[in-house]
């Protein structure tokens, strides 16, 4: 029996939501793979032979743009992008009855719950509230885990809120969660993924969370809850049946339901067997020969009967799946994968080594270039004084944040190497933590600040001139010997005229700005060009795996906000 199940039983009848995050240590990858040689052969077979005779020049290649679908909002007239999302549909059970009971009171309470519970919980779990109706809401999440957790948190909190009320006045949500490829609009979300979520919600009992098979597959090893399969259900207007799971408050509840079902099954089975065995025995005895088969049957049945009787008395009644009064806090959802540190870990060492910063006076400069369509038009930008990290943030600096449980993961790798495999959101978390612990307004640089700093007062193609020179930047073809891996430490190449290292090459660096496919409409005061929660953000600098075109100070690229990639890092800035 897995460890978490035991824990659930220990809690026994304590009626609490007891789900927690499981950690899958390591990957199953090792040893599972097909021989690499075969794969390599296959790969080469499809390889470079289908090259088209039109040699598309590299300049032209760099003109390739992608817009839309999480990359850019460049085509406003075209259809809204489709994407995979976890959809939560929530709805208050017996809303009209409640309204009849106390119209004004119910309305005020529902509004308050929406404002104080539903909206903030969705936000905390990185979801987006798409719309609210009188008695319900629909929200979308990138992550099924976060979606389910959000649903559980809402249910758990509602119990506390209802505790003070008489039962007829309880406001109880039904919640359905589904994973689907949907069309996301600014004000609504469409597709049968959404319809299935609301059908699941309709199936759920008040106070419960029902999830689809798709969600279950994604979360089963991530949140240790009990899940009771309700089998395939046919839902209205959806052709294929949908597999439905009920989220149980704790693993113990799952065992209880299973034990109940199993015991019924086992008892009836053993009765049958016994009857059969008895019959056989009687038959054989009456014929006074061939008793052996009956004896075997009797032996077989014995332990089966013993099993359930042993486990039955200890089991509390299996219903009451939802807590009535107490509800301990769910494990904090915010930092994604913090290692199991002792609970009493100190928040942050009192003395924090702050990153090396260089203060720049600000001024006016020409931002952009004509080398690539994303860098057009060249435009004047005037910046105020600001400070920027001398180096990209290192593994050591990052791990201080991770140790304080404020950053999502502990990085492996050399202490002085730049931190990599961080998403924009990860980088923001680090900056927020640094600002918090130091009391100084640390933040990510704006795109304009980054380019100003990278140019180091020059206007040439690279900060050192028009021609590529070895030793100035870390990129695939910037050095004499081709770079095959990340440098061991930040600052392995020459500093630019401002004394800044790795402003071009080494690691891609996130900046504060949302991605825009060019500078049409960009601000001229050096502020970040943002519009709320944008799906992709700007990367600067290029990495050790890119070629020399990416090292140019004006080069810009984009990537999904919440996705990690092994060449992506960042540096921080500060408003002095």
């Amino acid at each position: 029996m897995p460890a978490h199940a035991t824990a659930g039983i220990l809690h026994g009848g304590a009626k609490v939501w007891h789900c927690r995050r499981s950690r899958i240590a390591g990957e199953e990858r090792i040893g599972q793979n097909a021989p690499a040689s075969r794969s390599f052969g296959d790969w080469q077979a499809f390889g470079p032979k289908r090259v088209h005779s039109e040699s598309i020049g590299s300049a032209m290649r760099s003109d390739i743009r992608d817009i839309g679908s999480g990359k850019n909002a460049g085509a406003p007239d075209s259809a809204a992008p489709r994407r995979l999302a976890a959809i939560i549909a929530g709805d208050i059970a017996g809303y009209s009855r409640l309204m009849q009971l106390d119209e004004e009171g119910t309305h005020t309470r529902v509004k308050r719950i929406t404002r104080e519970l539903v909206e903030p919980t969705i936000r905390e779990h990185h979801g987006r509230l798409v719309k609210t109706t009188g008695d319900g809401f629909i929200a979308i999440f990138d992550s099924p885990v976060e979606a389910v957790r959000c649903g559980i948190v809402i249910q758990q909190n509602m119990i506390g809120r209802n505790a003070a009320q008489a039962k007829p006045h309880w406001i109880e949500y039904r919640i359905g969660i589904n994973l689907g490829d949907v069309i996301v609009d600014t004000e609504d979300v469409f597709g049968d993924g959404v319809n299935i979520a609301s059908r699941l919600e309709g199936l759920a009992n008040p106070g419960e969370v029902y999830i689809s098979g798709g969600i279950y597959e994604q979360i089963k090893h991530k949140i240790v809850c009990g899940y009771e399969s309700l089998g395939d259900r046919k839902v209205k207007n959806i052709t294929d049946p949908v597999r439905v799971y009920r989220v149980l408050p704790d693993p113990g509840a799952f065992n209880r339901t299973r034990a109940r079902r199993q015991s019924v099954l086992i008892v009836s089975m053993s009765l049958l067997l016994l009857a059969g065995a008895g019959g056989a025995l009687w038959f054989f005895i009456s014929r006074t020969r061939g008793q052996l088969p009956a004896r075997t049957a009797a032996v077989e049945t014995a332990p089966a009967v013993k099993g359930p009787t042993e486990s039955l008395p200890a089991q509390p009644p299996p219903q009451a799946t939802f807590p009535q009064a107490t509800f301990p806090a769910l494990p904090q959802p915010a930092p994604a994968a913090i290692p199991d540190a002792p609970a009493a870990a100190p928040p942050a060492p009192a003395k924090l080594a702050e990153p090396d910063m260089i203060t720049l006076p600000g001024g006016t400069f020409a931002m952009g270039s004509n080398d690539d369509s994303t860098e057009k038009p060249i435009h004047q930008v005037t910046l105020k004084r600001f400070a920027i990290g001398k180096y990209p943030v290192s593994v050591r600096e990052w791990n201080a944040c991770a140790a304080a449980r404020a950053c999502a993961f502990t990085a492996t790798g050399k202490d002085e190497a730049p931190i990599t495999n961080v998403s924009w959101s990860d980088a923001r978390q680090f900056a927020a933590w640094l600002a918090d612990t130091t009391g100084k307004p640390y933040r990510l640089p704006t795109e304009a600040e980054w380019e100003f700093a990278a140019r180091g007062g020059t206007r040439t193609k690279y900060w050192w001139g028009e021609q590529l020179q070895p030793g100035h930047a870390g990129c695939k073809d910037c050095t004499d010997v081709a770079m095959t891996e990340l440098p061991d430490k930040v600052g392995s190449f020459k500093a630019n005229p401002f004394g800044l290292y790795d402003m071009g090459g080494t690691v891609d660096q996130w900046v504060e700005d949302c991605w825009h496919k060019n500078y049409q409409g960009a601000p001229s005061d050096g502020s970040a060009w943002t519009e709320g929660a944008c799906p992709s953000h700007v990367l600067r600098s290029g990495s050790w795996r890119n070629d020399a075109r990416y090292v140019r100070p004006s080069n810009r690229d984009s990537y999904d906000t919440d996705v990690r990639y092994p060449t992506h890092g960042f540096r921080i800035a500060l408003t002095p």
């Binding site: 097909a34 790969w43 390739i64 990138d142 990416y550 996705v563 990690r564």
Partner: protein, 142 residues
């Protein structure tokens, strides 16, 4: 003596090798199929277009999610170099990533002929083993 050493080496090989040589990429189901829903090979397109990605017998998930038989899309535009199965799929202007689980993208290309190809990446952006790629198609932008 030599034989003995060889035997020892052979015995040790399975322990060492999985880490060294086979450490990258997950196996994909044999019947998995990656393809373009749109555009079709040889299509002539005016201006920007929605490129729609098709995947059969596997699931699309977010990058970073480590589940069996699922991955996320990458669109390779005018890429001629073979992909290195030992490395994550590159990220640059001709290797577009769709790690948020996108199943389509608005693509704008300069006029002329271009090749498009899809590659499915695992949680860590590695190609599957063997690589799950679509047919490389050619489109012409008017």
């Amino acid at each position: 003596m030599i034989n003995r050493r060889l035997l020892l080496l052979l015995a040790a090989a399975p322990i060492v090798l999985p880490r060294a040589a086979f450490a990258k990429g997950k196996p994909a189901p044999k019947d998995a199929l990656l393809y373009f829903v749109w555009p079709q090979d040889g299509a002539v397109i005016k201006g920007a277009f929605w490129c729609r990605f098709g995947l059969r017998n596997m699931g699309v998930t977010h990058a970073g999610d480590n589940f069996q038989n699922s991955g996320h899309h990458h669109l390779l535009i005018d890429v001629n170099e073979p992909l290195n199965p030992e490395e994550p799929i590159p990220q640059d202007k001709s290797h577009l990533h769709f790690g948020a689980g996108q199943t389509e993208a608005r693509i704008e290309l300069p006029p002329g002929k271009h090749t498009l190809q899809l590659v499915l990446g695992d949680a860590d952006h590695f190609p599957f083993v063997p690589p799950l790629v679509s047919k490389k198609i050619t489109v012409r932008i008017k």
